[in-house]
Symmetry: C2
Subunit: 445 residues, 2 copies
């Protein structure tokens, strides 16, 4: 099987047909494309930039393989000269971007590619595909992180994520946004993300009795005894956990936790907590899963549910209440001249831009200014150069550093953005120079 993730053929047909047009006409001037989000879903007040690392991997590594070039030849769609030119294709451009973990808002460029037009064009589809997904999921995950401070939050979404890469990268994006870890084994191997796991209902069902299943599991995983108690009758199972707990303690094995996966989680957690406490298992934690998201977390914690950790899956990894971002990667400058698209509802701000962020006296985000990159404003400039000549710059951050930066930024959100209440729009001002440029360009037509 070939590698889907790194293939340059994982692109839209029009990228290749346009490229042949650029190639034939020698349209190889320097282009600046910017990736931005046009507007947010009503359920989102902010986004967290994520996915840059994979975009830079893609830009550094992508080439056409000889097998892919042979296949392109065989389609008859392209000229020989063009395919020979593709054989030498590698990305040599420059990238400016917000660091992963940065809070961002509509109209702000999260990333800019500056490269020859064919280079900046060919990478469009996969670049959007990578930045869109991780930014989408990190932004969703941050909402649970904000709702449940101090709780263990684990990504459980691989099975209903949209395919292999979505499952793997959802683990990364949720961890980046402050989750504690994931159940996805490959995410630990690939990214070093902490792993969490318990047992499935099938494990309980495969044994003749529930307590026998618990006993077998405890002996097989003595350091991580987390028992699933809802296969048949949750309270009865909790009593069995207490009995087993005393049995196991003689062998030096502790029941670390129990997991609830169905029913009235708040009510069950309270009753199970009592059963465990009365049985002396005061340090056995309660972990909950099953159709969770940030709204349910808020509800459960408001009900005083004594739950220590949450496994959040499907609604997280699909960003179910807002499963896509209205994002774009648009040409803003070509051959030193700014460009502006004016399609109805899709007008763009022209030129190479920068975002300057200002903070209030308490260090919280106060407002942003969007202007031309050369038109310096007060505040912290958010885009920095991360790639030059097709190579990463040295300033690369580890995933742990990015996660710390995201958590630091979540701590600096204004209160109205840190809640699930809708309707607050964070102020992003358009600087006069940018307004003027747009007006001048409109007048020229």
């Amino acid at each position: 099987m070939m590698n889907v993730e790194s293939s340059l053929l994982l692109t839209d047909l029009y990228q290749l047909t346009m490229l042949q047009g650029y190639f034939e006409r020698g349209l190889t001037g320097i282009a600046a494309f910017e990736f931005f989000v046009r507007k947010l879903h009503p359920n989102r007040g902010f986004l967290i930039m994520a996915g840059l690392e994979q975009v830079l991997d893609f830009l550094e590594q992508s080439k056409f393989t000889s097998e892919e070039l042979d296949w392109l030849r065989s389609t008859g769609r392209f000229t020989k000269d063009f395919i020979d030119w593709l054989a030498d294709w590698h990305f040599e451009g420059e990238v400016q971007a917000m660091r992963e973990g940065t809070i961002c808002f509509p109209n702000e460029p999260l990333l800019r590619v500056v490269a020859s037009l064919p280079q900046a064009q060919l990478i469009e589809t996969r670049l959007i595909n990578l930045l869109h997904f991780q930014t989408l999921i990190a932004s969703k995950a941050a909402r649970s992180v904000l709702m449940a401070p101090g709780k263990l939050l684990v990504d459980f979404g691989l099975r209903r994520a949209h395919g292999a890469e979505a499952g793997l990268l959802a683990a990364r994006a949720t961890y980046l946004a402050g989750f504690s870890g994931t159940s996805t084994v490959l995410a630990n191997k690939r990214f070093g993300i902490p792993l969490y796991g318990t047992m499935a209902h099938s494990f309980v069902q495969a044994h003749d009795t529930e307590i026998e299943a618990f006993r077998v599991f405890a002996h097989a995983q003595p350091d991580n005894v987390v028992l699933l108690v809802d296969t048949y009758d949750t309270e009865a199972a909790a009593h069995q956990v207490v009995a087993l707990g005393h049995e196991l303690s003689k062998e030096g094995i502790a029941v670390k936790g129990i997991r609830l996966d169905s029913g009235d989680l708040a009510g069950l957690a309270k009753r199970v907590r009592s059963i465990l406490d009365e049985g002396g298992l005061n340090s056995t934690t309660i972990f909950a899963s099953g159709d969770l998201d940030e709204y349910r977390l808020l509800e459960l914690l408001a009900q005083g549910a004594p739950i220590d950790g949450f496994g959040i899956g499907t609604r997280l990894d699909t960003s179910a209440d807002a499963p896509y971002l209205d994002c774009a990667y648009k040409l803003q400058e070509y051959d030193e001249r700014p460009r502006r698209k004016r399609s109805t509802g899709k007008v763009t701000w022209p030129g190479r831009k920068q975002v300057w962020r200002q903070y209030d006296d308490e260090g919280r985000l106060a407002d942003d200014i969007l202007s031309l990159a050369k038109d310096s404003q007060n505040g912290e400039p958010l885009l920095v150069t991360v790639m030059s000549g097709g190579s990463r710059l040295e300033s690369r951050l580890s995933l742990e550093e990015v996660r710390q930066y995201a958590l630091y930024n979540l701590g600096r959100l204004p209160a109205r953005l840190a809640s699930l209440t809708e309707g607050y729009v964070y102020p992003v001002a358009i600087a006069p120079a940018l307004h003027e440029l747009a007006a001048t360009m409109d007048a020229q037509e």
Copy 2:
């Protein structure tokens, strides 16, 4: 980069920890697991089974690589004997399934795995991940196919699909459900799916004038001249297309179509159609894209929009109005004894099951009966054996055959399921034998 799609480490941690428990206790009896959907989102009346081909590929090919085994050893989570046993792991079980393209409903098994417990367990996560996504997307795509008979329907969703594999497999799932093709190049290489593509706004913007961009494109792609007319002013662009059309016709090049991507698509399509017709370009087609889905298609066609084809992207490839299925893969039998999960809201029907479908006098789907596989009923049995001893049986269908089968089945839907109207629940009867088994099992507890 390693291959994400085929790694057995693309799984939940608990699969491996449970497996170690099964291994240590010799729990290697024969298990039957079934994949089914618990209930449908209110926006869906039926599903189309898709993804079987990739599940069977996964079962046939998956093994642990020596590098993965070394890594598992290095984690310290597992015993040496268990990892040595994993080194020999390959799937040797049996699979019964509905054919891809089959219409299906809640509670019906789409697929059953019969294998030793550790084999049937380890594959759970990826099996769900593959079947869930393609069934989700094929079911979404079928709705557009039903709304727009005779129209060209093209998957444009790669850029906002959730990652690489989602983009690639969405092309497959939408084609399977009756779409005409995709813009995803790799889907043509991998699956032979027809490719469609036009040009991007950046292509227009990179040229000094719009007509110059159109001219360059036409010469670079003389067999596929589809021009994007909404970058600046759509009607003005349509007049330029007419002028260019006459110029190009002298060179033997025809303007095959124009694409609208923003604004009031119905109104613009009518005005552009008039401009093209008055200019003599009667056979130039109109293709529309931009925030489309089956609801918009219905609306546009009801307005009499003269649109010949649609590019449908984001909302299709993310199944935006219902971005996941409430599906499960559950143990229904172990060691020749049926098993039943009774968690609140998640009760399952025990045993190995079959679905029998009955048709009315006009050949339309009338009702289904769910029973035990050995309890034969009237009607067409939908699950057939597709894998035995870990190897595919000969009866494999091509993607074209599957697509024809799906289209045939869509043509047999009762009228209430073939519309976007919500609320109709297709009858799936539970046979007496299955009721009796469940009651007997409940009584035994």
